[in-house]
Subunit: 329 residues, 2 copies
């Protein structure tokens, strides 16, 4: 299956999800709904709703029943982006000004809160067995707490220079991989699949989530702004402790390592310093090492779904794991 | 029934709710949980969880089944306080520094988000019929959106000088009364009560919620800081359009009205100006008019529950409607 076939299918499902999201994000206080729709309208790959719909599709055909759950997970993701951008003081996302830049911090907090509430409203509206619905809602809320913990760790790491690879892995497992994990898991729960199949899709989701974040770390350092939608070097500017950065700290010569740490420790970094830091990370193999580890996780993801019935839906998952590694946006 | 008896019972139930909340607000990222518990530990009347437990108690005795729902509504309330304090730049709440003053804005946003997620986790854990549980979760999420809309209106009104009483009523119905409405309603839904009884308790909750907010408006202007836990005159400082302020604008002489509007329109108000504005509101009867209207709503609340079976639980509701008007904190 060529990537184009996967991406075409992702887009078809995204269209359904977008229609559901936008037609259900309406109410009084018009400007508030506009602010909450801003990032959704700015695009995005919609990989999380794809995972839900495709996982469900392995077992059942009537995917319209879980459309509200797919939309719910995507608006949960959007809510975290709006709030994270405030916390990180990021001004650009998906190539557009962030919500707090356009509407101010108070309104952006509220737009995020509104989306967060809609997550559970959408889920409660889905047309699946009551017990599965309650299980998904409970797990989503537990996941939300874990994702908040991940964001707290990410912020705390900005202030520390001694973050270990284990701590980094723990952080991205919560902050990013957990929602991927939930997505492929929820599709299976909603379809009333057996526990061993639910578990297989849970492992798959977590593994590609980790791989996804590691590639994001690479794109955040070496990617093109017009492709990533974010300013180059923002992870360095914010002193994030991403895998390529940690790898360079561990593997650079003492002189280069000290220079990198010195730049990372600065409150205000010049463009020149950011370029220098990126150069040190690059020449010490931070990019390659990250890609290699991400590929390992993607391969494990593919292995974890061997027990699933063969078919198109399974093939999509295999190709998705490969796409996550190859993507440039 | 003397007020003391009502307040003693409210306290007994509050103890159960607090124990549930605090023992279920634990996890990794310790400081995040500390920040999220801060306002809960600072006290509060716990009227909303009381309403849930007492409404349930009208129909059934096993209130431990709905304890998670009572705790959920209280942490929803706490989450909105944390975020509202950021938006309004309030520095004191319940006599203590607000969460963002102690931990910074990013962490306070996150602490609120964590509590918001816990709302649905708690609800999903309650031990009631699946269909009632889903109904409550769906209504809670819909309520959350309405409450966000109310907060957006409240903020928008700060910038406007032509807010009408109708707009004010619509705003407090959303921002404050809606959660009271949900609380007494959820108790009845959880107890599997008939629709007409659910409706009666819904009306009761909304009416006392409106009365509660109007008395809050009075306390915010004329109350003692050591009783209210908030700095005197903060509503004037933030140019809020509360009922006593709107009443004074409508009823003062042209000269006094212009003075009041002039002060409210200022970005930075001196202590002297705030005192002057409060004086104008007082001498034009803003306090009395507000109290009178609040009393009308409290009486309507009492009338709306006439159809409920007589008994202690109903008596508590009658006394609570009276307490909401008489309270000084």
């Amino acid at each position: 299956m060529p990537f184009e076939e996967l991406l075409k299918h992702v887009k078809e499902l995204a269209k359904m999800v977008d229609d559901y999201m936008l037609s259900n994000l309406r109410g009084d206080a018009k400007e508030l709904y506009e602010a909450s729709q801003h990032l959704i309208k700015a695009g995005g790959k919609r990989l999380r709703p794809f995972l839900i719909l495709n996982s469900y599709n392995i077992f059942r055909d009537d995917i319209e029943r879980v459309l509200p759950i797919a939309a719910a997970v995507e608006i949960f993701h959007t809510f975290t982006l709006i709030h994270d951008d405030i916390m990180d003081q990021d001004e650009t996302r998906r190539g557009r000004p962030t919500v707090h830049v356009l509407w101010g911090v108070p309104f952006a907090i509220l737009a995020g809160d509104l989306l967060h509430a809609k997550v559970y409203e959408f889920m409660a509206k889905s047309d699946i067995k009551a017990e599965n619905k309650i299980r998904i809602i409970k797990e989503m809320a537990e996941a939300a707490a874990i994702i908040c913990e991940g964001q707290a760790m990410d912020m705390e790491f900005e202030k520390r220079m001694d973050v270990s690879v284990e701590e980094y892995m723990d952080m991205i497992r919560r902050k990013t991989a957990y929602l991927f994990r939930c997505s492929s898991r929820f599709g299976a729960i909603a379809a009333d699949a057996g526990e061993s199949l639910i578990d297989a899709l849970t492992t798959y989701g977590e593994k590609i989530g980790i791989a996804f974040q590691m590639i994001d770390d690479i794109l955040g350092l070496f990617g093109e702004e017009k492709e990533t939608g974010k300013p180059v070097g923002s992870d360095v500017r914010e002193s994030k402790k991403t895998y390529p950065i940690l790898y360079a700290i561990q593997n650079a010569s003492k002189e280069k390592k000290d220079k990198l740490l010195e730049i990372l420790a600065k409150q205000n970094k010049t463009e020149e310093e950011i370029r220098e830091a990126i150069e040190i990370i690059k020449e010490n193999g931070g990019g390659e090492a990250t890609r290699e580890l991400a590929r390992k996780y993607a391969n494990e993801a593919i292995k974890s779904i061997e027990i699933l019935p063969d078919g198109t839906a399974k093939n999509y998952l295999i190709r998705l794991a490969e796409f996550v590694i190859e993507r440039s946006y």
